[in-house]
């Protein structure tokens, strides 16, 4: 199997150097070969009834606004006032 490492890395939001791509082009397919045996397992997708399911807590009893703001903001790499600062997300570029 060949894997397009660059496009995979792009999907994973991970910069890769040329040197790394060469190494990963050998490693990732060998890992996929390693898990290939699963194809022989006697099961079909339809019989899968997962034992785990998502549970959400009720959205109630909120804490007082601002209680944790400073502490959480202190962890952020860049901030402006009481906000985390990020580069522009939406641009007008054609």
């Amino acid at each position: 199997m060949t894997v397009d490492i660059r496009s995979l890395a792009k999907l994973a939001r991970l910069d890769v150097t040329d040197e790394e791509v060469a190494k990963l082009e050998a490693e990732i397919p060998s890992i996929l070969d390693f898990v290939e045996t699963i194809k022989n397992a006697p099961t079909s997708l339809s019989i899968a009834t997962p034992a785990l399911r998502n549970v959400m807590r009720p959205d109630e009893n909120p804490h007082e606004s601002g209680t944790y703001t400073k502490e959480l903001l202190d962890a952020a790499p860049a901030k402006t006032g009481d906000r985390i600062a990020v580069k522009q997300v939406i641009s007008r570029k054609k």
Binding site: T37, A51, V55, A75, V86
Partner: protein, 471 residues
Amino acid sequence: MDLSKLTIAEARRALDAKEYSALDLTNAHLDAIREKDADIHAYLEVWEESARAEAVAADAMIARGEAKALTGIPLAIKDNMLIHGRKATAASKILEKYVASYDATVITKLKEQGAVFLGRTNMDEFALGSSTENSAYGPTKNPHDTSRVPGGTSGGSTAAVAAGMALGALGSDTGGSLRQPAAFCGVVGFKPTYGEVSRFGLIAAASSLDQIGTVGKTVEDAHTLFDAIRGHDTKDSTSLPNASTPLEAETRRRIGIPRQFLKEGMEPDMLAAFESTVASLEKAGYTIVDVELPALEYSLAVYYIINPAEVSTNLARFDGIRYGLSVPADTIGDTYSKSRAAGFGPETRRRILVGTFVLSSGYADAYYRKAKAVRELIRNDFAKAFESVDAIVMPASPTAPWKIGEKADPVSLYAADIFTVPVNLAGVPAISVPSGTVIRDGKELPVGFQIIAPHRAEDTLFKIGSDIERA
């Protein structure tokens, strides 16, 4: 006090009898760390000052007659559990400067007991590995032979306890990360039932597999630590309701061995050590039978699809925006990809890429969804086997601890997890207890014996584990 042999149980007795103080006990451990840890590198950070302050507070609790099981007991904490105001890095560069903004539930519980926190222990980055070689801060060494690995990913925690640099420790087990390093270091490593201990405040690796557990020199110590941290937590949606009545472990005497599964890849003397422990259990009155778990042969494949899939999802939160390392870039997209490239180590990157692949459109059916279906077969195999036996036993590892750097190829490292990953896929509890030794290069190395029980039958593990200790 001889720290290489001292247990939590004995320290509790001596502290309550005022034979020495909690401060003496903590100082003795801090001395041991100063003396030995330069060679072993179990700790990423040692908190001398706060540990002494906690010990003094513990002495006051003892003096007031308010001592609990862990009051004044010096413990080591794996570097993926949050302690408010302390660094928690998961042994990654991406969290090098991260300071926890809250306590993990297990930490809150230990603080209520008046336990002493000695420091945070080394691990494979984000709990991805089997040897603690994947730490961004350098490997931990096996206290029994410092040229060899301590196992992983909780290798810092197990090495600290084995070397007398902590009386007990917390670790986490995603695919064997407590049991295998405990086996390699000659201590007890215990992974509870999935959901039995809250994971609130544990840095997530693979959420359907991760479980916090305990390390001790004895089964009793691992059990004591477990009792202190277990219980339902509204902050962890996967946490189970509190257990009702304990099982009558005394009557549980039937043990199954999946012999078909043990055939491959075992070093002959490791297999012999396993068989000799089985024989001693038989002598102690247990009935040993063969069990079949046919789907177990797919365990490694299932694990190495589900684990990277969940890892790639969980680690998406590290983007250089909210916390952790951030590499300045012109666009937000470049901030993500450059920060992640600079912050994640090689194995973490491999898992993210494999996870992204098996979840990607066009491959998700053949890999991820298929793996989830086969995982149910594995769970069913265990459920069926437990209809006729009270416990299943297996080695904790097919091999003795290997030399640091010996397994450079990722796949050969994955294969070492063969006997531990099925447990996490099924969510059942398991324990590794030291039993026997093997010789490598003239050095005696410990062997771990693994016991697996049905969901929530932890008491069975403690009973059989104690019988092995007595044998």
